[in-house]
């Protein structure tokens, strides 16, 4: 550590830490001991997204577990659900109590614990996961210049991240006047678009997801 408490290695070029963000994942597939098992979701078929724990390790092409309890409250018929970064896109047709029925828009293979994206839905996920918090602190020891905050939904989320950055700086013993990393909010959901102005006021920069544009065009 230098006298100001700042990291010793300082790069000429800037570093940007892109966080994973709070994430929703599907469950483990039924009989998937190796971790390489896949199921094929066929275009036009119907699938039920389940949130009860009994499906957590028994997902099939008919019942897919999603690890977000508030799923049925966040979704409405007509909204899109993306699996594995958009490899499979589904449209919500019916919302039940803890279950969501979708029709599959395009065929694709899905593995256990695939990423789930709800671009049109407003969720109550936290601004940062525990991994994000640890990553930001680690990044600050490496003197990162920017933090790209994934799946930001509101200005409150940006404030939370800023507060975490300040706390990390204190814990790392940085001087008060040492510049903190700038926050760049990634706009990846409808909720973020609704709160765009507030997020912009709080953030130092913005990123926009290309997929967002495509999903809104649809």
């Amino acid at each position: 550590m230098s006298p100001s408490g700042a990291p010793e290695t300082q790069h000429i070029r800037s570093l940007l830490l892109d966080t994973r963000g709070p994430e929703i994942r599907s469950g483990k597939l039924k009989d998937d001991e190796s971790g390489h098992h896949t199921i094929t979701l066929e275009k036009g078929n119907t699938i039920t997204l389940q949130t009860s724990a009994e499906y957590a390790e028994a997902s099939t092409e008919h019942d897919l577990y999603i690890n977000y309890a508030g799923l049925s409250k966040s979704l409405n018929p007509g909204m899109k659900v993306l699996l594995d970064d958009g490899a499979v896109i589904m449209t919500v047709t019916e919302v039940g109590d803890g279950t969501v029925t979708c029709s599959i828009d395009n065929s694709g293979d899905i593995r256990s614990r695939a990423g789930v994206n709800l671009p049109m839905a407003e969720t109550d996920l936290p601004a940062m996961s525990d991994k994000d918090k640890a990553d930001i602190k680690y990044g600050m020891t490496k003197d990162i210049d920017f933090i790209a905050a994934s799946f930001v939904q509101s200005a409150e989320g940006v404030r939370e991240i800023k507060e975490h950055v300040k706390n990390c700086a204190k814990e790392l013993g940085w001087a008060d006047d040492y510049p903190l990393p700038k926050i760049i909010s990634k706009i990846e959901s409808a909720s973020a678009l609704i709160h765009f102005d507030d997020i912009l006021n709080e953030s130092d920069g913005m990123f926009s997801s290309l997929f967002l544009k495509e999903s809104f065009q649809q």
Partner: protein, 161 residues
């Protein structure tokens, strides 16, 4: 022909609206044509900022910044040095996939790439004694680097070279 029709349409719509200025488009005005008796200016008095301080054999300062995601194909020193040389401004580290070891490797290689690039192209190394060690001191407008060389100090030479 097309440009004259477009110009006439633009002028008519300008006279109808309260706005006194119509944004000219490439199709609407050509060099040498006039609009309202005033010739279209085809030159700007502002100097081209890209022509200031030519560096490193390029045409000028890189005005557009490039954010590049460094992953398994570009994290080794060779490719990363090339990426830096060709204009990387911001290295994006995607923590959705990267492990701590991978990040460490990318940062170490970035530092090495920067040192090798700056040493070769921009810096004037100075060799001097300090505390019985021989140092390379490298100065630029960005940073000061110093690292011990493997050469033994020469007792007859106490001055910096």
């Amino acid at each position: 022909m097309f440009s004259r029709i477009a110009l006439s349409t633009a002028l008519k719509s300008a006279s109808r609206s309260s706005r006194s200025f119509v944004q000219p488009t490439r199709a609407a005005l050509k060099i040498g044509e006039t609009r309202g008796g005033v010739a279209l200016s085809t030159k700007f008095d502002l100097p081209d900022p890209g022509r200031f301080c030519p560096i490193r054999g390029t045409k000028g300062i890189q005005l557009t910044k490039i954010v590049a995601t460094i992953g398994p194909t570009s994290e080794q020193l060779g490719p990363l040095t090339e990426v830096c040389e060709n204009g990387l401004s911001v290295m994006r580290l995607n923590f959705s996939h990267a492990t701590t070891e991978e990040v460490e490797l990318r940062l170490t290689n970035l530092e090495a790439a920067e040192v090798s690039l700056e040493n070769v192209k921009n810096y004037f190394p100075i060799i001097c004694h300090f505390n019985e060690w021989l140092f390379h001191i490298v100065i630029s407008k960005y940073l000061l680097l110093y690292y011990p060389t493997t050469t033994k100090p020469n007792p007859n030479n106490n001055d910096c070279i």
